[in-house]
């Protein structure tokens, strides 16, 4: 191995490896702009798709045909989940494990399930079945892991207290609180509230996560 080590030492002395930090700052501005653009487009796409579903359901009801989509009756996630917590995709496995442990020890949490990046990817593919270009740009490893959580109390104050506590600990991509029926009826209130995907025919797609509590 000495030969390899000698070669690596020579390589590390090469001047072309140097790159000024201003390059990174410039790149960071581009990354930030791209992140904002992607988030905005994702939310818009979801609202449009779900909005189309609402209109289709309304049209079908007017025509006397059986409504295939009934947003007002969107079934809740498994076991009456009240909050979905999405972690930042770059979280390490140790950080995810620590977050999981924190949920287990949190007295406000009755039940919780861990959902892997692969499960969210299944939801994503089902939610955007005809968007091949979008799917090509998304792979499971860039999606967040998440936790479905049932709280001891689902009233608004208790839920907001839990959400504030989670946000304060950092590393959270998104926290989605179960929308009210009115919010659901308005459509597109939540990009990541999975039961909404069922209105788009993803009935078999709301896969159960791994129970942790």
């Amino acid at each position: 191995m000495n030969a390899l080590l000698e070669k690596t030492e020579r390589l590390l002395d090469e001047p072309w490896l140097e790159r000024d930090i201003s390059t990174i700052r410039t790149r960071a501005r581009r990354v930030r702009a791209r992140q904002r653009r992607t988030a905005a487009l994702g939310a818009l796409a979801f609202v449009l798709v779900l909005g189309a579903g609402v209109l289709a359901a309304s049209d079908a009801a007017r025509d006397g045909a059986p409504a295939t989509l009934d947003v007002a009756d969107v079934p809740v996630a498994p076991a009456d989940v009240t909050v979905m917590v999405y972690l930042e995709p770059e979280r390490t496995s140790a950080e995810v494990a620590q977050f999981s442990q924190d949920l287990v020890e949190d007295p406000a949490v009755v039940q919780a399930w861990f959902r892997s990046q692969d499960l969210l990817y299944e939801d994503f593919v089902c939610g955007f079945p005809h968007e091949a270009a979008t799917r090509d740009d998304v792979i499971p490893s860039i999606l967040p892991t998440s936790f479905d959580v049932v709280l001891t109390s689902s009233d608004r104050d208790s839920t907001e207290a839990f959400v504030d506590r989670m946000r304060a600990r950092g590393g959270i991509e998104e926290i989605v609180v179960k929308p009210t029926p009115d919010e659901v009826a308005m459509s597109g209130t939540s990009l990541l509230w999975r039961p909404a995907l069922r209105t788009m025919g993803c009935l078999g797609n709301d896969l159960a996560g791994e129970p942790i509590k």
């Binding site: 191995m1 030969a3 390899l4 080590l5 070669k7 690596t8 020579r10 390589l11 590390l12 002395d13 090469e14 072309w16 490896l17 140097e18 790159r19 930090i21 390059t23 990174i24 700052r25 790149r27 960071a28 581009r30 990354v31 930030r32 930042e88 770059e90 390490t92 496995s93 140790a94 090509d136 740009d137 792979i139 490893s141 860039i142 950092g170 590393g171």
Partner: protein, 161 residues
């Protein structure tokens, strides 16, 4: 050794040449590697408050950079992938090419583990974190790579004589 850092500027100054060298050899393409490393450091810069608190910020940068490489690789068409298989090795600067020639025939997992260990200077636990595998698997992978490299380097030594 992982550097002890408080500012992003210090972290970048201490780590970036090693990270760049590692990615160049791991990927075998300077442009692709540099682009991925720039992206990873840019994301680290944006999330520095959080990244700085990690046990090993450098390992996080490796992980993100490798994810960027993998993501872009998946976007390439099958045709491009096939063309690349029959294409010659990408042109690398001499010093990088010397290391690349040693590790290029290793299976991908072994090559990455060796690069992260000897160029990246990561511990086995950190390599496990970067590669998303168990530490025991890293040990076995490095042991397998050592056996292959002993043969390879032995052959190179014989040829040089």
């Amino acid at each position: 050794m992982m550097p002890t850092v408080t500012s992003f500027e210090g972290f970048y100054a201490e780590t970036h040449t090693r990270v760049r060298a590692s990615l160049v050899v791991a990927v075998g393409d300077k442009d692709v590697a540099f682009d991925a490393v720039d992206e990873a450091y840019a994301r680290a810069f944006l999330a520095w408050d959080r990244v700085a608190r990690m046990d090993a910020p450098q390992a996080w940068v490796y992980r993100v950079a490798l994810n960027v490489v993998r993501r872009r690789a998946r976007r390439r068409s099958l045709e491009q992938a096939l063309l690349r298989r029959v294409a010659p090795d990408p042109v690398l600067p001499d010093a990088a090419s010397e290391v690349w020639l040693v590790v290029r025939d290793l299976p991908e997992r072994q090559r990455l583990a060796v690069v992260l260990r000897y160029l990246g200077d990561l511990t086995e636990a950190q390599i496990a974190e970067v590669m998303g595998i168990k530490r025991g698997t890293v040990s076995r992978t490095l042991a397998d790579a050592h056996r292959s490299l002993a043969t390879e380097l032995g052959d190179l030594t014989m040829e040089q004589r």
